[in-house]
């Protein structure tokens, strides 16, 4: 028997093992993982950028084709983060291999780091691929690149965490796709991904402000063009709050064993 590693403080091998395992699955299907968003982005550009965008004026001083890039990236980031985050933990529940995770010397925080870290990494990679694809269609100037990357990572982590919670909550594959399909996608479309919420009539604009995704897309667009529908500080604060609420939910889940343990 080899000597005992010190796992009393932090099980780094455990985190790395989950991360590596999850990333391997992504890389194994890299072809389709990458092809899908590239194709979708190109289609959006053809439809919104060229077909419709050509007839539209600039929005906030930005050509329409370029205006939709941040929203489009976010559309993918939010959807992919949730589905990656939820699938990673739902699948072991579905196949029964979750027993291993539950009996391993690994804490909730470490588990989340492994799964959510991998899910967020995949989303960020896809986000960057979409960004690269969009440069084939429009001229892009990113005003605040560091903030853009930081925000991309924060958003991916937040929604991967939300996905992780969905994966623990879900009892079926239908429930698994419920949140991304019926909540996140509509909210993203209504969250100003393809328009500025300023063009909405009064009451609709007010209602839109209750949609958390408005703040995310708005802040992300600010990173590109320096203009936003709502204050950048408010956006950052909202996203960070969202992330912390997610962490609190996860720690509650592991403490009570909700839908994991008897």
């Amino acid at each position: 028997m080899s000597s005992e590693p010190n796992i009393r403080a932090f099980n780094r091998y455990g985190v790395w093992a989950i991360y590596r395992f999850e990333m391997a699955r992504f890389l194994r299907t890299a072809g389709q993982s990458i092809l899908t968003p590239v194709l979708t982005t190109s289609l959006y550009f053809v439809v919104f950028g060229s077909a419709i965008g050509g007839r539209m004026a600039e929005v906030d001083g930005v050509p329409y084709g370029a205006f939709i890039v941040p929203g489009m990236i976010m559309l993918t980031i939010l959807g992919e983060s949730i589905s990656n985050g939820s699938f990673g933990i739902y699948f072991p529940k579905f196949t029964g291999t979750i027993y291993e995770l539950l009996s391993a010397p690994i804490s909730p925080v470490e588990t989340v780091l492994g799964y959510v870290g991998a899910a967020a990494t995949k989303s960020v990679i896809l986000g960057l691929i979409i960004l690269a694809t969009s440069t084939f269609f429009v001229d892009l100037h990113i005003l605040h690149p560091v903030a853009m990357v930081a925000f991309l990572v924060l958003t991916a982590a937040t929604f991967s965490l939300l996905g992780f919670i969905t994966g623990i909550w879900a009892r079926s594959f239908e429930q698994l796709s419920f949140i991304p399909m019926l909540v996140v996608t509509p909210l993203t479309f209504l969250g100003g991904a393809f328009y500025s919420i300023d063009i909405l009539p009064g009451i609709w604009r007010t209602l839109t402000l209750f949609n958390p995704i408005v703040y995310i897309i708005s802040a992300f667009r600010w990173c590109f063009y320096g203009t936003s529908d709502v204050g950048i500080e408010v956006s950052m604060l909202m996203t960070a709050t969202f992330f912390i609420a997610g962490l609190a939910a996860v720690s509650w889940i592991f403490k009570t064993g909700y839908r994991l343990k008897n």
């Binding site: 099980n11 091998y13 790395w16 989950i18 196949t95 291999t97 539950l102 009996s103 010397p105």
Partner: protein, 308 residues
């Protein structure tokens, strides 16, 4: 021998109200093979799952290799490997990827040599690059054992290791368990086959309806459980047992048509040939016979009724 696992006052009532375990106290000695014997639904898996951290006990404490499984769960779980009853595998992953994940999860650095050693010991080395879903049921079970051993645990739980397993694999499994014991690993296995407990265990615990009704050395238990019965269907009914047969433990049943002889199945001399000879000598003829070993169910019934 010092205990490596101490289970004190552990009970479990599920949210559904089902009381799966009633105040279990049990000590497992270091280096032994302990068999937990009981029918389905007796609470065997619940007990194992509590020690491994999958089920939270309602009351009681468990100390594994000096570490409380709740307060010091990392150190406790690091010592433990679990092979659950259900076949659950990462179907789309390769054998090697899956085993490597297990080693990491349990806090060990990736070590290709160790992974190779485990895979070879389970004759999985040649199949290491295959997706688990392409393997047979027996091979999948080996993968689950490899996963449990990947982090070099000192305590191994095998929950029904040979349920639905072919004879060859069962032999292999038994050999593997012996090898592990020789390396100093303590093994706790559950089974509802008496023969398995008999073949493998140093000590046996019998669990019934959530209660540990007996813990004994195997040899003592096997003696207790080793009773067999010979049933003879007679051609002509007997009114009473003839005095010539008084030296055998006989009972007359079925309106005098059935003669039942209870004997020790483990004894060198069962007394059957001499009984049959004596019967022929005194002219008692039979048309059919069968022998029957007390089933686990019978034993439970007798153990439980003894307690009441």
């Amino acid at each position: 021998m010092s205990p490596i696992i101490s289970i004190s006052n552990v009970s479990k009532t599920y949210a559904s109200g089902l009381q799966a375990l009633k105040r279990i106290d049990l000590e497992i000695n270091k280096g032994e093979i302990f068999a937990l014997l009981g029918p389905n639904g007796a609470g065997k898996s619940t007990l194992i799952n509590i020690v491994c951290g999958i089920v939270t006990p309602s009351t009681g404490t468990v100390v594994a290799d000096g570490h409380d499984i709740m307060k010091d769960y990392r150190q406790a779980r690091f010592k433990i490997g679990l092979v659950p009853q259900e076949l659950a595998t990462d179907a789309f992953e390769t054998v090697e990827t899956s085993v490597r994940l297990s080693r990491g999860l349990f806090g060990r650095r990736t070590d290709p040599n160790q992974i190779e050693k485990v895979l070879r010991s389970l004759t999985l080395w040649e199949r290491r690059g295959d997706k688990i879903m392409t393997l047979s049921g027996g091979m999948k079970r080996r993968v689950m054992i490899a996963k449990a051993l990947a982090h070099e645990p000192t305590i191994l739980f095998l929950d029904e290791p040979t349920a639905g397993v072919d004879v060859e694999l069962r032999r292999d499994m038994w050999n593997l368990v012996r090898e592990l014991r020789a390396q100093g690993v303590t093994i706790i296995l559950t089974t509802h086959y008496i023969e398995e407990a008999e073949e493998m265990a140093d000590r046996v615990g019998v669990i019934h309806k959530g209660e540990l009704i007996l813990v004994e050395n195997k040899s003592a238990l096997m003696h207790k459980l080793g009773k067999k019965q010979l049933t003879l269907q007679l051609q002509e009914p007997l009114k009473a047992l003839p005095s010539e047969l008084s030296e055998w433990k006989l009972e007359l049943k079925g309106d005098g048509y059935v003669l039942e002889y209870t004997y020790d199945g483990k004894a060198e001399r069962t007394g059957i040939p001499s009984l049959l000879r004596r019967m022929t000598d005194i002219g008692i003829l039979f048309k059919d016979l069968n022998t029957h070993q007390s089933s686990l169910e019978d034993i439970f019934v007798s153990l439980v009724s003894e307690r009441q």
